[in-house]
């Protein structure tokens, strides 16, 4: 276990997860397709998960990995609900372009 970290170094894990997270953020902000936004959110989640696992190994503490299981389970549930919403939006509006969803406006 320690070997892997010794060989690659914790910094690289952090950089990778920051890059992944940023990709996710940019995806959420700049893509208008709801499915792609979802995928971007998943990327962000997984970036965090990666960081959890990496730190868990670094600290020799299993708690981080337990959290990852939690978060994966929650993410799965979230995707299920989110996709259901997307489907229902598509049925109502005929598109899943986020720019068309302006009903929040006061």
């Amino acid at each position: 276990m320690g070997n892997i970290l010794n060989e690659i170094g914790i910094e690289n894990y952090i950089f990778l997860s920051v890059i992944l997270f940023s990709i996710g953020v940019f995806g959420v902000l700049y893509r208008r397709n709801a499915i792609i936004v979802f995928m971007s959110i998943e990327i962000m989640l997984n970036a965090v998960n990666l960081l959890f696992v990496a730190f868990s190994t670094y600290h020799q503490d299993a708690q981080g990995q337990v959290f990852v299981f939690f978060s994966m389970a929650v993410a799965a549930a979230e995707v299920a609900v989110g996709l259901a919403i997307v489907v229902s939006i598509f049925r109502n509006l005929g598109s899943i372009d986020l720019d068309n969803l302006k009903n929040l406006k006061g």
Partner: protein, 633 residues
């Protein structure tokens, strides 16, 4: 026992009022009138009882009925005092009051609201009795405002005519201006002495304790303003001539004999205050004398040219009241009181006589349409003549004695005021006989219709006239020069020994002679002008120059209107239309400003999730950056 009698004195007219208000209509045609007359007569009897008693014992009766108002420093009772002064006033208030009530029974015979009329008259007597008998200034103030209210109700008795209502309102409001002065005087006295009771005030002032004499003089001045309002002195006199809108008995009772003398009563009552010999108080007294003298002169000049029979009498009343104030200002309180009494007799008689004329003429009041009435109305004529002689100061009628006393006092104190007062007296003689000649002599100038109905008034009207004419003739007896019962009677009231009685020396006889000659001159001019030449005053449109100025009363009403009434109404309109909405707009403006801020904030919330997320991310990044660079994490 005293309490029972005093309650009877006070409450008999009040009971009459209540009874007439609630049941007057059911009492038959004249029931209300007789009931009201009886109620006042009861008061008169009680008064008479006490009057006789005080003449023997010289002991005033004081009764405290209940606590009324409590103030921090003192409390004010509802108390009654029957002393020489109040009983004297009560005598003629209830006495003449009874006569005028009786007269009204016939005079108001055809009015559908008779019972109301009598109710108000009774209420007036009640308040007048309160005014006169109250044992402190605030109880006097109850009566003071109460008689003002009755005056308002009675001037506007024919309430369908808005002009009459205006006159009533004007009377009330001008009186209230005076009332404010009265209240301020009360406040100052209360503040200085911690009491409003006459007896306590008197002993406090007479004890010579250190007081602020300037404040005292100011209090006296404020009280005098109150007296000006009630007794129609310059500058608050304009309501009285307008008050003639009321039924004539009201003019006789309220606006000639009783209510308008309340100011003189008040100052006489407080003579221990007004008589203080400090420099400030002397100024106040000088003001009173000058105001009185000028009122006498100004009102007399206006009276010279009036054509309405009641207006002439009204200005004559103002003028005579002015003479009384002149006497007060010169410190001759008992002289003023003497003139109040004789004036009450002959002026009531004159007003009632004019009422009799108006009654015969079916409401006509313009003398230009009268003339020759003595042929039809001999009793009215004779009583009118007697009273006119009395008011003109012709001996041996009562007015001669009282007016002569005033002139004599003025001559001794201040020659200029004496000249003014004498001029006013000459004019008085002139306009009274102008009135007499125009009304009763020469040919009748009215319509044939009116002529056909001319008649002498019934006995209920002529009886009071005769009684009053007799009193106007012999009234002078109560204070003959050199041997005055009245001065003696009032001695306990007058704090500073009164003014010294004038000896019947050569000067006195000369002055008497001058006064009589003056009166005769006035009568003579009137005789030459209206009887000999048979002149009739011109129609309103043909008046010119000074005559027109006098006829329009120096345009004082118009000036007051332009100076006070119009501006205050203009301000009111401005505040209502402009200022109020501006103020209201300011408050709404606060709300609108909030709304506007909200509106511009609304722009941010355009509903695009992308933009929300962007803002959110930016915010998180900003926070993290901040925390990072400040080394908080």
């Amino acid at each position: 026992m005293d309490i029972a009698y005093i309650l009877l004195l006070l409450l008999a007219p009040f009971a009459g009022f209540l009874f007439n208000v609630f049941f007057g209509k059911k009492l038959g045609h004249n029931g209300a009138g007789y009931l009201a007359t009886f109620a006042v007569f009861v008061s008169f009897l009680v008064t008479h009882f006490y009057f006789v008693q005080i003449n023997q014992t010289a002991q005033p009766v004081t009764v405290k009925l209940f606590d009324w108002i409590q103030l921090g420093k003192f409390s004010i009772d509802f108390g009654i005092v029957l002393d020489q002064l109040s009983l004297l006033w009560l005598m003629f208030v209830t006495g003449i009051g009874s006569l005028i009530h009786l007269y009204s029974v016939s005079y108001m015979h055809d009015d559908e609201n008779r019972h109301k009329f009598f109710a108000y008259l009774n209420l007036f007597i009640f308040f007048m009795v309160t005014l006169v008998t109250g044992s402190n200034l605030l109880v006097m103030f109850i009566g003071w405002e109460g008689v003002g209210l009755c005056s308002y109700l009675l001037i506007g008795f024919w309430y369908k005519n808005q002009d009459y209502n205006d006159a009533a309102k004007k009377a009330f409001i001008m009186n209230r201006i005076g009332d404010l002065g009265f209240l301020i005087g009360i406040f100052l006295l209360g503040h200085l002495f911690g009491t409003l009771d006459y007896a306590a005030l008197k002993s406090a002032i007479m004890s010579g304790a250190e007081v602020d004499h300037t404040m005292l003089a100011l209090a006296a001045l404020a009280l005098f303003i109150g007296a000006c309002g009630k007794s129609a002195q310059i500058p608050l006199y304009t309501w009285l001539p307008d008050a003639m809108a009321g039924p004539t008995p009201v003019s006789a009772l309220i606006h000639a004999a009783t209510m308008v003398t309340a100011g003189i009563f008040m100052i006489t009552r407080l003579n221990f205050l007004f008589g203080i010999s400090s420099a400030d108080m002397q100024t106040v007294n000088m003001v009173i004398a000058i105001v009185g003298a000028f009122t006498a002169l100004v009102a007399a000049t206006i009276g010279l040219v009036q054509n309405d029979i009641k207006k002439v009498l009204a200005y004559s009343t103002v003028s005579q009241l002015g003479l009384m104030f002149l006497a007060l200002g010169l410190g001759a309180y008992e002289v003023a009181v003497f003139h109040v009494i004789t004036h009450a007799f002959f002026k009531a008689c004159l007003f009632l006589g004019s009422g009799s004329v108006i009654h015969a003429m079916h409401g006509e009041q313009d003398m230009r349409n009268m003339g020759g009435l003595k042929k039809w109305m001999s009793v009215t004529y004779i009583t009118f003549l007697i009273s006119s002689l009395a008011i003109s100061g012709i001996p041996p009628f009562s007015g001669f004695f009282s007016k002569d006393e005033i002139l004599m006092t003025a001559f001794h104190e201040n020659k200029a005021l004496w000249v003014i007062a004498s001029l006013a007296s000459i004019m008085t003689a002139f306009y009274m006989f102008r009135l007499l000649y125009l009304t009763f002599f020469k040919e009748f100038r009215g319509t044939d219709e009116q002529k056909h109905h001319l008649h002498e008034s019934p006995a209920l009207i002529t009886f009071p006239l005769i009684v009053l004419a007799i009193l106007a003739t012999v009234g002078g007896l109560i204070s003959l020069p050199g041997n005055s019962w009245l001065s003696h009677y009032l001695e306990p009231i007058i704090a500073y020994g009164g003014h010294s009685e004038h000896h019947l020396d050569a000067t006195a006889y000369m002055l008497m002679g001058l006064a009589v000659v003056g009166g005769l001159i006035g009568i003579g001019i009137a005789y030459a002008k209206y009887l000999k030449k048979g002149e009739v005053p011109p129609a309103d449109a043909q008046m010119t120059g000074f005559h027109k100025l006098l006829y329009h009363k120096y345009y004082v009403d118009e000036v007051y209107d332009a100076l006070f009434v119009k501006p205050i109404n203009a301000i009111s309109t401005f505040l209502r239309d402009t200022f109020e909405s501006a103020l209201s707009g300011l408050v709404f403006g606060l709300g609108k400003a909030t709304n506007a801020i909200g509106d511009s904030g609304k722009m941010l919330h355009n509903g695009s999730i992308g933009r929300y997320l962007f803002a959110f991310t930016l915010g998180v990044v900003a926070i993290i950056t901040y925390l990072f660079f400040n080394k908080i994490v």
